[in-house]
């Protein structure tokens, strides 16, 4: 993930632009200091023909007809199929691996075995085969005999925290990729922490809580979720001499190029990585292979050994076990406020497990929201368990952390006898979220909420909840403006016949990047979106970024706009035209056959806001007889800077609401406590939200001219998932009067709560 850009220090030549920034309802004029050669950012005064409009995806016709070739769909002449053998146990020593029977099987062309002797989680890489068909590869994998010496294990978060729990890492051992921060943090048994973090301490939280009129304290739990991208992780590797070409289902072709060059000990220049279409990642495909598997490197080795291209796609079960998951979170919140709702202290203490890795911090929302509260303390702990390592999943740690913080805020509002929305307004620091509160409350009809939780309007006071109970809830989320300020390039070519091509290395992971970049080029050149041919997802093209942290559009689009701008300037200089009304006619007058301009993204500069605001409102219906929770309607109000394409931006927000509701109601990685393996590594008992669970999803984009770059784009994919879990739980409380502090909100928990209440 890219580093957040720091405010620029006084530096090399800059130019000053005056920008009409912010929201149209409250314009804010500001000066920004852009690098020389950059162009003025689009702002509230820009008359934009295409940007912010609604444009269907350019590749959609290929995708709806089954013609789009994803990595999973690519076949090469002479290609072999690989299959991996994975550890069936959560902890063991490998005594022996016997591949002789597999190697003897006709059709088997290459075999790989691990050099590691220690198994720390079910699903760890053990062996791999490449064979003439997927069926033969599967047969061969079954013929590999591995002898294990089983060891004690722990897969449950709370059990792993106990004294005397089996140690995932012996004293003195740490994960192979442990960073300096992990190495120097205090460790006790499987627990590491508190982890150092920025913006985790303000004032004196104990004094702040003492000074409060009202205090709440509660513990909240979120289980491990898995990513479930429908296209599993996988690659096809082909060697031609020392040239390696890899087709990868990845969020970062550059990351795969770098990672494979390193893994294989070869030069990056000899590695080409291609991702034309990609079937979902959600953060799990930011690794060169996967967090819990070196499958891509193994595939390259098999291809080398076999002397033929090899395809290795993970199966669904492997995807759940080794290709990443989102850490669990066990969070204790202490909040205090004055009678008027002014926060006096926020204490966030969490334990979470990223399996055999670290990275389970969930304090982000507590750190960033309600920043006027003078007293804050965040203590995050990682707990090692014998389970696959986590991977970033859409705003890593933030949906979990917001579930804790925003549930606690709801409890605080209740304790204060305050409207939960008013409590947020009272402590709000973002002018954008203030606008969003009004928009969201109106869209959901916030006035319809139950004044007394669990008590429908008109029902006799104190009557038992029965039948179908409706309730409304809301919660906030936060995210950051991440953008790469240099090292991102784009090339625009205008051909003599007027046709236009854009070359950019970044991959479209389903967000609509391809179309967004075409819009930017078309806007700048005065042509139609469909007249731009976008060539992306290839390391041979000008360098792009890995798609993580919601940084792709705002890192790449400014370079693309600049390249289009420069190509147009060159065309003018070449033809002597000062005004171009028809690109086609102008291009016909160029001296050569083609004009090309390559531009590098200029530095990120001052933004209207460095954070991305979001708030969500939801209506639920709870069946008091069965305990079933159904979301009726959800309104997501999000800031993403300028949405380059409102149509696809809305799709992302809708998708985040759905993924969030799916986590809130259904998703849960269940580990078998008796054997330490995952019970539900599939798509039916690892339940994800389906058509019949759908609700009315209302995405509302808060357009903010954010500056920071010449397009005012800021980022969207992740922030819109942050508030959802808490919003749903808060609505269930409003409907039933039952506070459920442990996700998912399954019927058993609802019924138990209703029984306690009765």
């Amino acid at each position: 993930m890219a580093e957040q850009e720091k405010p620029p220090a006084p530096a090399p030549p800059t130019q000053t632009f005056t920008v009409k920034a912010g929201h149209a309802s409250a314009p804010h004029t500001m000066e920004v200091h852009a690098a020389e050669g950059d162009i003025a950012p689009w702002d509230l005064d820009s008359r934009l023909r295409l940007v912010k409009g609604r444009h269907p995806r350019l590749e959609a016709p290929l995708k709806v007809t089954g013609r789009a070739k994803y990595t999973y769909d690519i076949g090469l002449p002479g290609m072999l199929w690989a299959r991996m053998v994975r550890a069936p146990l959560p902890a063991a020593e490998i005594v022996a691996i016997d591949t002789s029977r597999a190697q003897a099987l006709p059709g088997v062309k290459a075999v790989w075995t691990t050099e590691s002797r220690k198994v720390r989680f079910q699903g760890q890489d053990i062996a791999a085969v490449a064979a003439v068909s997927p069926e033969v590869a599967e047969d061969a994998a079954r013929l590999i005999k591995v002898t294990y010496d089983e060891r004690p294990y722990v897969t449950d978060l709370k059990k792993a925290m106990e004294d005397g729990a089996p140690l995932v890492y012996d004293t003195g051992e740490l994960p192979a990729d442990a960073d300096e921060s992990l190495k120097k943090t205090r460790r006790s048994g499987n627990v590491v922490g508190p982890r150092e973090r920025r913006n985790g301490l303000r004032g004196d939280v104990d004094a702040g809580l003492l000074a409060a009129d009202v205090r709440v304290e509660a513990t909240y739990e979120v289980p491990v979720h898995t990513h479930v991208p429908l296209e599993t992780h996988g690659v096809i590797a082909r060697w031609e001499g020392d040239q390696l070409t890899i087709w990868a289902s990845t969020q970062g072709v550059g990351t795969v190029q770098e990672g494979m060059a390193e893994y294989l000990g070869i030069d990056r220049k000899n590695v080409t990585v291609i991702t034309e279409h990609m079937g979902g990642g959600f953060g799990s495909k930011l690794h060169p292979s996967a967090e819990g598997s070196a499958f891509a490197g193994i595939c390259c080795k098999l291809a080398k050994q076999a002397g033929a291209p090899v395809k290795l796609m993970l199966h669904r079960q492997e995807q759940h076990l080794c290709a990443g998951n989102a850490p669990s979170a066990l969070m204790t919140l202490r909040l205090g406020a004055k009678k008027d709702g002014t926060l006096t202290g926020v204490h966030f203490r969490s334990f979470g497990s990223a399996g055999i890795a670290d990275g389970a911090g969930s304090g982000g929302p507590a750190s960033a929201l309600y920043g006027d509260c003078p007293n804050l303390k965040i203590e995050e702990h990682d707990v090692f368990t014998n389970a696959g390592p986590a991977a970033p999943l859409r705003a890593p740690g933030h949906p979990q952390g917001a579930f804790g913080l925003e549930s606690a805020m709801d409890e605080l509002a209740h304790a204060l006898g305050m409207d939960p929305l008013e409590l947020r307004r009272k402590n709000e620091t973002s002018p954008v979220r203030r606008i969003q509160y009004d928009v969201g409350a109106a869209a959901i009809g916030w006035a319809r909420r139950n004044r007394v939780p669990g008590q429908a309007e008109g029902a006799p006071p104190g009557s038992r909840p029965a039948g179908r109970l409706r309730g409304l809830g809301m919660a906030n989320g936060n995210w950051y403006v991440f953008a790469r300020g240099a090292g991102v390039f784009a090339e625009v070519k205008i051909h003599r016949d007027g046709s236009v091509e854009l070359f950019q290395g970044s991959q479209d992971i389903g967000t609509g990047l391809r179309t967004a970049l075409a819009i930017v080029v078309a806007e700048e050149l005065g042509i139609a979106v469909r007249d731009v041919t976008v060539r992306i997802g290839d390391t041979r093209f000008p360098a792009g970024v890995s798609s993580g942290g919601s940084n792709t559009t705002n890192s790449v689009a400014p370079a693309v706009r600049l390249a289009a701008h420069e190509a147009l300037q060159k065309l003018k200089a070449d033809t002597g035209l000062t005004q171009i009304t028809s690109l086609k006619q102008a291009a016909a007058r160029m001296k050569g056959e083609m004009i090309s301009a390559t531009a590098e993204r200029k530095k990120q500069y001052e933004t209207y806001r460095g954070d991305l605001a979001g708030t969500q409102f939801v209506e639920v219906e709870v069946d008091a007889d069965t305990g079933t929770v159904r979301v009726v309607k959800m309104v997501a109000v999000n800031d993403c800077g300028f949405p380059i394409n409102a149509l696809t931006a809305e799709s992302q927000v809708i998708g985040a609401m759905i993924q969030g509701v799916s986590w809130a109601l259904f998703e849960n990685r269940v580990m078998d406590r008796n054997v330490g393996t995952m019970v539900n590594p599939n798509i039916e008992s690892y339940k994800v939200l389906g058509a019949k669970d759908m609700f009315e999803a209302v995405p509302i984009l808060t357009e903010i001219a954010n500056a920071g770059n010449n397009t005012s784009a800021a980022g969207l994919g992740e922030p819109c998932l942050v508030p959802t879990l808490a919003a749903v739980a808060n609505a269930v409380f409003n409907a039933t009067g039952v506070r459920i502090r442990e996700l998912p909100l399954t019927p058993d928990k609802v019924l138990a709560g209703l029984r306690r209440r009765a």
């Binding site: 070739k69 069926e135 429908l230 039916e684």
Partner: protein, 201 residues
């Protein structure tokens, strides 16, 4: 998954048993005794896909999904869960949607197969495919062919469905990006555009 009527678990097991289990358990003698036994070596299968006669030579244990994808380069149907729980591999078998991962290619002989490729091309989209494009009823697009095939089958059965009927008709398809509302919108839009006279019984 009420819609998937084309092949039952029983027929699947029967054919799989003939193709794989019989050869290992009963041995060659049993195979010779029954002329219907296939395999274990590859056999030539005559399939009718998207109106064309195609021959694939595959081991009898190869599923219809893998035969389409790995032997006919029809990769619109996706390999996602391989156990009938996601709908991504849906194809039409004699007009009925089936999970092609749960069916052996050998069992598709003599049947009419339609894959998403047979419903339209990028240059000539079917009305439903065009509605998917316009409504942005896709994000990563990996589940999209399955939704298009299930939605096509639904509209053929019920040309003017209600929203609830659309949800029922797509209940066997999973989308992870979270595109359902726009898929519903696309199906309803295609239905609204279809003339009432074209209704089929």
């Amino acid at each position: 998954m009420a819609e998937r009527r084309g092949v039952s678990r029983r027929t699947f097991l029967k054919t799989a048993g003939v193709g794989a289990a019989a050869t290992t358990v009963a041995g060659a003698g049993a195979r010779a005794a029954s002329p219907a036994v296939l395999g274990p070596d590859p056999v030539a299968l005559a399939l009718k896909v998207n109106g064309e006669a195609r021959t694939v030579t595959v081991e009898p244990r190869v599923t219809l999904l893998r035969a389409l994808r790995n032997h006919l380069d029809l990769t619109g149907a996706k390999e996602i869960c391989e156990r009938g729980s996601c709908g991504g591999c849906t194809v039409l078998l004699d007009g009925q949607p089936v999970a092609s991962c749960l069916m052996l290619a050998a069992d598709a002989e003599g049947r009419e197969l339609t894959t998403v490729e047979g419903l339209g091309s990028p240059e000539h989209l079917s009305p439903l495919q065009a509605a998917f494009v316009e409504c942005d009823a896709l994000q990563c697009g990996f589940c999209t062919p399955g939704f298009v095939v299930s939605g096509t089958a639904l509209l053929r059965r019920n040309p003017h469905p209600t929203l609830e009927e659309v949800k029922d008709g797509l209940a066997g398809n999973v989308c992870r990006c979270g595109t359902y509302p726009r898929v519903f919108e696309a199906v309803l839009k295609a239905a609204a555009a279809a003339p009432a006279a074209k209704r089929r019984s």
